[in-house]
Subunit: 323 residues, 2 copies
């Protein structure tokens, strides 16, 4: 079965990814090491490094240097999480204390900067301008995605197109870059590099859509408070679908509260219950499936090797994940 | 005269540097544009871009693309200033309101991230792994320098070697990278690239030493409060020299206060007055001159062109500056 194969491969690869992370961590400036360790140990599935490794292997790169490249996006991802921790001022991250609650503002900001700088420096070691270009564009786009998301928080008029732009930036770009960098490292053809990027971009969008659906599913499963996105004024797809079910008066009331950020915890629970009753989380997952189908189309243009099955299994994982 | 030549050249080059900055600024995400504009307009001598342009021209690069490369270090520098603003929580920067007093924490942090990301992306456009490597190493080293400086704030036992490491990281690396990148862009020889880097590194160290001397010179001149470094617990060279003039008891008292950060404004004024009376600011400037001599030695290995006179004039500027 694909998912057993995926799990066992991940079990084999994870120690190599973590070893590369540990080696990089050892070279960070001492004062930020504990912060970086905290964020690396706080969980995370190493999805991005794993995608770089699989894409690189699929396209014929067989050397161990791939692990060092693979961790750069995990470092960039960690950097964004650390700065987000400061910005959001939320107490938890992945169910663990957020970095800024355990470390000072200074340590948290500088650890993010140091991780981003080191990620960049490691990519530059590979002496390939295409890799540096891919990484730096992904960094810019991710940063722009986060900025746009914050800009449109509590904005009742944010369009669906903007919502998709935001998730493309804040989530999908790092994942598409992970796949693109694997392909570039393997010296794949231009078409194969584009297909790898498209695969990553589409599973990235699907990943975020599933995340947005999960936000209205059980708190016990996700470890995050239900409807956290709604509380934070994020107009995600399940919320859009929910709005479509309301009459004009109810819609107006909802948008007014959305704008003011005045939903009570009880109101959030109630909205989450309705979203589940109306199967709007499932409808969001259906939309995610459309992107997964696009990812599979892109994957199908790549060579038939063992890793293709694993990347296919990744689409199942993204589709089925419950937390 | 060299300094007139320098001023008139800078007057000619500055609009081109600022035009490249304006073009890059236009592509930043909208919400962070005002923050970036604030930091770019808050002053700054465009020392780093100017050095890239001069070094590149000296070594034979004659195209306009150099302005686009030159501004990347100004962007990185601005990014570090923005994050410093948040970290230091000081009301002023270069005599102007600090970014975090005019913009939110979120905007200030993300503007720094966006500037760093864009600086990286622009360097990557040049498709030269040596440029990406130079820029990313300078980013890492600068970040490490800042982290080390903060780590040793109010540390009475910080060694002179550590002090020099800190100023190398926090100030000299960006300046050495500015010169190195100009030489790399000009496809200079390995020795010329090293000499350019050495020139930048040494004027960078001298620049910071003069800055540390200026901290004890007049408030009216610098626009910064006198002995600000001492208040912030920074054991700069004038402070080290001052310590050497104290007997054991006085030294112990001083270090205790330094550790606790308990100098009153009056005490600071008094120490600043003593440092000036004992000409310890001048002694620091003498030390800076030693580094400027090293910079000139490095410069002398480079070709005899008009730009060499300008770079030589830069060493005069660094030596003589009063603010």
């Amino acid at each position: 079965m694909a998912s057993l194969l995926l799990k066992s491969t991940l079990a084999l690869e994870l120690p190599k990814i973590n070893k590369a992370l540990t080696q990089a961590h050892a070279l960070l400036p001492d004062p930020v090491k504990p912060v970086a360790e905290h964020i690396f140990k706080a969980g995370g599935k190493r999805l991005r490094p794993f995608l770089t490794v699989l894409t690189g292997r699929l396209l014929g790169y067989d050397q161990d240097a791939i692990y060092r490249l693979a961790i750069t996006l995990e470092m960039l991802h960690a950097a964004t999480l650390l700065h987000d921790d400061v910005i959001d001022d939320a107490p938890l991250r992945r169910g663990q204390p957020a970095a800024h609650t355990k470390f000072s503002l200074t340590e948290t900001i500088l650890a993010g900067d140091a991780l981003l700088a080191m990620g960049n420096a490691i990519v530059a070691e590979f002496n390939d301008p295409m890799l540096s270009s891919s990484f730096s564009k992904a960094t810019s786009d991710t940063c722009a995605g986060e900025i746009n998301e914050i800009r449109h928080q509590h904005d009742p008029n944010v369009s669906e197109a903007t919502y998709f732009q935001i998730i493309l930036g804040k989530t999908a770009r790092l994942i598409s870059c992970a796949c693109e960098m694997g392909a570039i490292l393997a010296h794949a053809s231009k078409d194969q590099i584009s297909a790898s990027l498209a695969f990553g971009e589409n599973i990235g969008i699907a990943f975020q859509l599933v995340d947005d659906a999960l936000d209205f599913e059980s708190e016990k499963i996700t470890g995050k408070p239900t409807a956290g996105d709604l509380r934070e004024g994020k107009m995600t797809l399940p919320v859009r679908y929910y709005l479509e079910t309301l009459d004009n008066k109810a819609k107006e009331d909802f948008l007014e509260q959305f704008k003011r950020g005045s939903f009570t915890p009880d109101a959030c629970q109630e909205i989450a219950a309705k979203i589940k009753d109306l199967a709007l989380d499932q409808k969001t997952r259906t939309c995610a499936n459309m992107y997964l189908a696009k990812a599979i189309d892109a994957l199908n243009t790549l060579p038939d090797r063992q890793e293709k099955k694993l990347l296919l299994a990744m689409t199942d994982y993204v589709r089925d994940r419950k937390k």
